[in-house]
């Protein structure tokens, strides 16, 4: 091959290399991420759902009633049923925690002797139905509500946690997770007195304020 031929081959090779480089750049740059749009929608939905929890009443979602099982005796002159249709969903959740706070000592719950379990059961059932209606068509969900644990000693704490979820598979990609915080409606001194009834704790050991954290996480179906 003469020199002209060699130059021509090199020229072609350089041309091919540059075209390949240009193509790879175009390929790399062109696609957008579909998940990004989905996540944003999910985040918006989760935020709206949590806001709806704070403002929508149980009555607007078909009403909420329960009959407490906390009393060991059936009182014949009363139905005992509580109709809480004016309460917001967040209120129900916070009151569920308020009525079922536990003192855990060494990993074992020692209080209360009579938790309001029926209320807890009914709240979970009700919220599950509500979440199925609001987000269940598009996303799987997990709602976790927990108190900020109040440590009484290295081995003891006051807490309550509840979760409502539509699936069990944790291996999937989470679309979003949104959290709101609310006060637990109990004054510090009353909480202290309640705890002191069942576990010796000094005034100074108690956290200043009990808060509840409600987290809603969504997964694409």
């Amino acid at each position: 091959m003469d020199k002209r031929g060699q130059a021509y081959v090199i020229d072609m090779l350089l041309f091919a290399l540059m075209v390949a480089l240009a193509c790879s750049l175009l390929i790399k740059a062109s696609p957008t991420e579909p998940n990004a749009i989905d996540d944003r929608y999910a985040a918006n939905l989760a935020q709206s759902t949590l806001l709806a929890f704070q403002h929508a009443t149980a009555g607007e979602l078909g009403g909420f009633k329960y009959t407490p099982d906390i009393l060991a005796v059936q009182i014949p002159w009363s139905s005992g049923e509580r109709d809480l249709h004016h309460k917001t969903l967040a209120q129900l959740l916070v009151e569920d925690m308020f009525c079922n706070l536990r003192v855990e000592v060494g990993g074992r719950n020692i209080a209360p002797l009579k938790p309001n379990q029926e209320f807890d059961r009914q709240v979970r059932k009700f919220l599950e139905t509500a979440l199925d209606e609001i987000v269940g068509g598009r996303f799987d969900y997990r709602l976790v509500a927990r108190t900020m644990p109040i440590d009484l000693s290295p081995a003891a704490r006051v807490h309550f946690e509840t979760s409502i979820e539509s699936f069990n598979d944790n291996g999937r990609r989470q679309a979003c997770s949104e959290t709101i915080r609310m006060c637990l409606p109990i004054p510090r001194w009353e909480l202290l007195l309640g705890i002191q009834d069942i576990y010796p704790v000094s005034n100074s050991r108690l956290e200043p304020r009990a808060l509840v954290e409600i987290t809603l996480s969504l997964w694409s179906k």
Binding site: D11, M12, L14, F15, M18, V19, L21, A22, L25, L26, A29, R40, A43, N44, Q47, L50, L51, Q54, P68, I70, L71, A72, I75, P76, W77, S78, G80, R82, D83, L84, H86, K87, T88, E95, F98, C99, L101, V103, A111, P112, L113, K114, N116, F119, V158, E178, I180, R181, M182, C183, P185, P187, R188, W189, G194, D197, P208, R209, L211, E213
Partner: protein, 698 residues
């Protein structure tokens, strides 16, 4: 081929393509970056807004629970406040204080969990270890402008709405993680609906307290119904257990009227110790038994008697005219100045007057018959009317009955008037056959003498044919407890024993005596009607009676763990009526019931003395009168508490003030009122036309 002009190597073309692509990619990347930056800002803003909105929601949530607690605290002692306004003011104060207690620590708590969040609350630093005293509020008066204010308003159906005004420049400040975006949301006013009917409870309890004396009226009605029933059966006996039962029943009746329910489980739990026998017969029919006779009826009877008396007056006047006509004719003839025709006219007028007098006397009989018919028409089951009819028509002694005396009297007067008329007619015949003026004068003198004697006999003051003495006590209308209750002796006179005793004078005296007795009866009826006014509308509700006497299958063993009030808090009784849907609790113990006999015979003879007689001698009726001052005293100030049954929405400790740890349950708002009154009394008056015995409680 050797011409190389216009030749461009492929590598240059490739370079140019690469440059072009690089430019495109660069531009796309830049555009995407711009888009991503915008999206991040959008997402950040949405997230910040959502966070701020959730904090606003939390503030409303805190305000709601602060109000719940304030309502509970204040309503526990609702009677501490002078009026509704001061009570509402106190709720607002306490709610503000609870709100501040939460909110003052909120910025710190939020900051601790999420550094992006900042709450600006005008530097309030307050915390409370227990319920604050009133001094606390007064100490804080100077800092009021920095405090939020709670205004409690009435919402629909008695629910409450609280309007919260936060101090000016209260803000929620939320920043993005990179601090590039900050959202400061002013948060000064919001409204929170409170799902319990505080205003309904307040309004109903206010009504209960305002009309509290209705309990006494209903109790009085129930005691009247029971005692009058006994009086008609012939034996009156008061018993403490009956009075206690009737009082509790009256209390429940007032509750039912005001709240639509009563504390009926107390009965089922055997706490009220009801004497169920005492409840029988307490129906609206009892009203008929309580009324002896109405003043209207007695006035109507008196009007018939008055009609008779007026007819007698008219008869008397006619008879005086007869005498005058005859005297005039006689005088004219004696003075020889009168034409015979005129004499005849005078005598005819006299005869006409006698006829009219006769009509008037017959009217007396008619009026008395109207009286009897009117009483007969009202007899029915009215014991008083039966007795009165019997008294007027049946003889109870050695003398005719009042109706018999009137009848005999009218017949006697009729006979005398017929005889008078006959004598005048006979004289007229003789006058017409006589043509001599002297003889005419004699005849008229004789006639005048006869008519004068006869008229005088008919209208003269009567002389009693029979007398009887009886004792008369002061009657209820004039009776005063300071008076001497001893009786006075009176004489009853009978003027007509037979037909011949009948004159206008004796008839008039007889009717006036009857009228006197009826007027005394009217006084007694009027006196009772004053008492009865209070009984009107105080009947015990029959629905309540059905609930209490019905099949109350409420087998229940009281839990030692709770007292009754605590049990009601946890599980209030289903209201008897669905509207307004309030459950009721009451607590009071009756210490004593006293019955003080105050009618004259009772004062003289003691609790078991026979009733005081009120002899209405001239109508043949004796009323028997018993009077008592009945007083009931409670051990302590009674407690009334109502619960908002459909809204058991307040999360509260299982046992208030007790050691129940963290056990909580939803309870209804209870409105508790301690009533100041512990003494209830009334006057019980029995007036019966039948004699009854009186027993004291053993």
């Amino acid at each position: 081929m050797n011409d190389r002009r216009g030749f461009m190597p492929f590598s240059v073309a490739g370079f140019l393509i690469l440059m072009l692509v690089l430019t495109m990619v660069g531009h796309t990347a830049w555009s995407r970056h711009q888009l991503a930056t915008g999206t991040v800002e959008d997402v950040t803003c949405e997230s910040l807004l959502a966070t701020a909105a959730s904090i606003q929601g939390d503030l409303q949530h805190i305000a709601r629970y602060a109000t719940y607690r304030a309502l509970w605290d204040v309503c526990e002692h609702a009677n501490y406040y002078d009026n509704d306004e001061s009570r509402e003011d106190m709720i607002e104060w306490v709610a503000t204080e609870y709100f501040m207690e939460h909110v003052s620590e909120l910025p710190q708590a939020y900051k601790h969990l999420d550094a992006r969040v900042e709450l600006e609350f005008q530097g309030l630093q307050l915390s409370f270890e227990s319920f604050p005293s009133l001094d606390f509020f007064f100490d804080l008066l100077d800092t009021l402008s920095a405090w939020p204010s709670f205004d409690l308003h009435l919402a629909e159906n008695g629910y409450a709405l609280v309007e919260v005004r936060l101090p000016k420049q209260t803000r929620i400040r939320v920043s993005s993680w990179d601090n590039c975006t900050t959202l400061a949301l002013p948060c000064e006013n919001f409204k929170v609906f409170i799902d319990c009917r505080y205003f309904l409870l307040q309004e109903r309890m206010g009504k209960f307290v305002r009309e509290f004396d209705d309990i006494r009226s209903s109790w009085k009605w129930a005691e009247y119904a029971a005692a009058w029933g006994q009086a008609l059966a012939g034996r009156v006996k008061f018993s403490e257990s009956r009075s206690k039962t009737l009082f509790r029943l009256s209390w429940a009746n007032h509750e039912l009227k005001t709240f639509g329910s009563a504390d009926y489980p107390a009965v089922a739990m055997g706490l009220a110790n009801l004497d169920t026998g005492a409840l029988a017969g307490l129906t609206s029919d009892a009203n008929a038994a309580i009324e002896p006779v109405s003043t209207t009826d007695v006035r109507m009877m008196i009007s018939y008697v008055d009609g008779g008396i007026q007819a007698l007056e008219r008869a008397r006047a006619e008879l005086m005219d007869v005498d005058r006509y005859i005297e005039h004719a006689k005088d004219e003839v004696q003075e020889n100045s009168y034409p015979l025709e005129n004499v005849r006219l005078e005598i005819s007028s006299a005869i006409a007057s006698v006829g009219r007098a006769l009509e008037h006397v017959r009217e007396v009989h008619q009026q008395f018959q109207h009286l009897l018919n009117s009483i007969a028409s009202k007899r029915g089951n009215n014991i008083m009317m039966l007795q009165l009819y019997d008294g007027l028509t049946s003889s109870s002694g050695n003398y005719p009955s009042p109706a018999g005396r009137v009848s005999l009297g009218v017949e006697g007067v009729e006979s005398k008037l017929m005889e008078l008329k006959g004598r005048i007619d006979a004289q007229v015949q003789r006058i017409q056959s006589s043509n001599e003026l002297d003889n005419l004068g004699n005849l008229l003198s004789q006639l005048h003498s006869y008519v004068g004697t006869c008229v005088q006999g008919l209208i003269a003051e009567p002389t009693p044919k029979y007398q009887e003495s009886y004792e008369e006590y002061p009657d209820p209308s004039t009776y005063d407890l300071e008076d001497d209750p001893s009786p006075t002796t009176r004489n009853a006179r009978i003027y007509i024993m037979e037909r011949n005793d009948g004159t206008i004078g004796t008839l008039d005296a007889t009717l006036k005596d009857i009228k006197t007795s009826l007027e005394r009866m009217e006084d007694v009826a009027g006196d009772f009607e004053l008492e009865q006014e209070e009984l009107s509308g105080a009947e015990i509700d029959e629905e309540l009676m059905q609930v209490l006497l019905g099949d109350l299958d409420l087998q229940f063993n009281q839990q030692a763990e709770f007292d009754r009030e605590q049990l009601y808090e946890l599980s209030p009784p289903t209201p008897i009526r669905s509207q307004p849907g309030l459950s009721v609790f009451n607590e009071f113990d009756i210490r004593d019931v006293m019955y003080r006999r105050v009618d004259p015979c009772g004062r003289l003879g003691g609790a078991r003395a026979p009733p005081t007689p009120i002899p209405l001698w001239f109508i043949g009726v004796t009323l028997y009168w018993g009077q008592w001052e009945v007083t009931l005293e409670l051990e302590n100030k009674p407690i009334e508490r109502i619960f908002d049954f459909p809204n058991q929405t307040l999360p509260r400790p299982l046992l208030e003030g007790g050691r129940t740890g963290l056990e909580k349950i939803h309870k209804p708002l209870g409105y508790r009122f301690e009533l100041p009154r512990t003494k209830f009394s009334f006057t019980l008056l029995i007036i019966s036309p039948r004699y009854f015995n009186i027993d004291a409680d053993d």
